[in-house]
Symmetry: C2
């Protein structure tokens, strides 16, 4: 609003992308000779860059310019359990580069999101990180500037998304249950309408193979569902020796109900969670073996990717692997 | 970095709109005597304009100023459970005034805080909101610009702090226990080194009077402490009929342990929490009677106070009263 005028018009990669009629990611790839693009596209971008006098410096980075050294962080996640660690990681990287982060909470409201996008454009931010409460993909924002999606990936494969490899997390937990000798395992999943719940359940089921006693049960992300699922499962399979869960919250409910029924965890039945959310994973009795989502690391990588994109680089999308955290719910003390 | 220098604090129509809690369009209509508005709205806008010393120029346009329309939000709370709702409330008010919020997470690190203060000064933000994870007072920041403390008050009484009235929350819960006929009540508090824990315990004890069976027990903010406290208390006072707790987390542990010992909540013993943190208060068996901290409202008031301060007003410090939320842990279904 009150930004100082720049002395001379400085060309940014966004201008090149706009003139060539391609996304910023595509423009970056074309200028950096990376990625898979049609030669015709690459040529069109180079032509646009030349026409506008866009310059890359010796290290292959765009020359600095009328940048505001500010980026926007758009989140749909009012509660913050997922987006806050992502934001902290991103901010860590960005603030080390003297870049300030404008916080924009859209509260899952499309009108609010549009308001913020306009506001960020008028403030001439250098780029935007988009995050949210779910690891399910979302439609891309239309911003006309570099955008990186963190945790919540874009549905457009041309966008740069740093996401979570939910399937890999589920595999790690399944492997752990198998390696500790469990051979009659059930899976208690989150809701079918959450892609992450389905991906985790399917990956675990594939990995468990014959050790899976029945198809994954889908319910909601709650302790109550975990407790209910135990009653369902033990009626049909009283000889269960493991229960893998789609979240720590579900797993905590599972542990509570097993204790109430006189089943020892992990001696009788091993239990695994997903998320490594301390309030659930550590407060559970016993504490939960789970996977840590490495959300801060994910945020750092998103911050780095955005810096690269702003500088005219062509960062690749990637999915972060969660890491296994072993606690008493699978290994007796 | 590239903000224009300010000459003198100039009030804009956005300030008037934000203070009056209306859109800029509405504020403009009210001040220009155009459009169809309720007289009450028009009066509120005029009052806001007068309060802020708002001036229209000859063409009916607000005078522009060197303001950056950006404020900094400094928080020490990496986890975000307390600071996030405060921030959302503040942002709600500020963004209605077209003011963007720069997020600065200091992670309880004084060096990082200094870094952010310098960065915010160099960006010529209009003001700063300071918040944190604790309602205990903190030393003031040295910023040379308008600052409002939200949730975490400043130790300097000359600063503007919008804080939480912890004692009042404890009184509401004590009154509720007494009004439901409880006469042998114990208090399970948070740690002695947290002022909020001490204030809550003292206020509850004063209010409970003869109904308090022994001095409040201090432990940590955990479910485990709640479970341990039940064992301690029932050994000494097997005829307890109420347990008031310093937090929902403690109260959840208390409910779990009482259930394990075959005591019915609330029939045998009523239990109260503090915070209205859904993950604890609703997941508890039974769900907890507690007080809601109204953190978003607190944030909104902090945002309004900052706008007033920026516009040269003199907002007062105040403490928000939590509100009682009654659930099954005190009133049987």
């Amino acid at each position: 609003m009150t930004q100082e005028q720049t002395a001379a018009p400085v060309v940014r990669i966004t201008d090149v992308a706009a003139l060539a009629g391609v996304s910023i990611g595509t423009a970056s790839k074309a200028l950096n000779d990376t990625g898979q693009l049609r030669e015709e596209t690459r040529a069109r971008v180079r032509e646009a860059a030349q026409k506008l006098g866009f310059m890359m410096d010796a290290r292959g980075r765009a020359l600095s310019s009328g940048r505001s050294y500010t980026v926007g962080m758009i989140t749909t996640d009012s509660f913050g359990r997922f987006s806050i660690p992502v934001m902290l990681g991103a901010e860590d990287v960005l603030s080390a580069g003297q870049i300030a982060v404008l916080m924009c909470d859209t509260r899952d409201d499309a009108v609010r999101e549009q308001h913020y996008l306009r506001s960020l454009a008028s403030r001439r931010v250098d780029g935007i990180i988009v995050t949210g409460r779910s690891s399910d993909p979302r439609p891309p924002v239309s911003a006309g500037m570099p955008v990186v999606y963190a945790y919540t990936p874009s549905t457009d494969p041309d966008d740069v998304s740093i996401s979570l490899d939910d399937g890999r997390g589920a595999e790690l937990l399944a492997d752990h249950l198998l390696s500790t000798g469990r051979r009659r395992v059930a899976y208690v999943a989150g809701p079918l309408h959450h892609q992450a719940a389905v991906v985790r359940a399917r990956a675990a089921a594939d990995r468990l193979g014959d050790a899976l006693v029945e198809a994954p049960l889908h319910g909601d992300w709650s302790e109550r569902w975990g407790r209910q699922a135990v009653d369902l499962l033990l009626r049909r399979s009283p000889d269960l020796d493991g229960i893998a869960c789609g979240s720590d919250q579900i797993a905590r409910g599972v542990c509570d109900r097993l204790r109430e029924l006189g089943k020892a965890v992990p001696t009788d039945i091993a239990v695994t969670g997903f998320d490594d959310w301390n309030v659930m994973a550590l407060a559970s009795r016993p504490p939960l073996t789970t996977v840590n989502l490495r959300l801060e690391e994910l945020g750092r990588l998103a911050g780095q990717a955005l810096l690269e994109l702003i500088s005219g680089g062509a960062p690749e999308s990637r999915a972060i692997e969660p890491t296994l955290v072993i606690r008493e719910s699978t290994i007796g003390s």
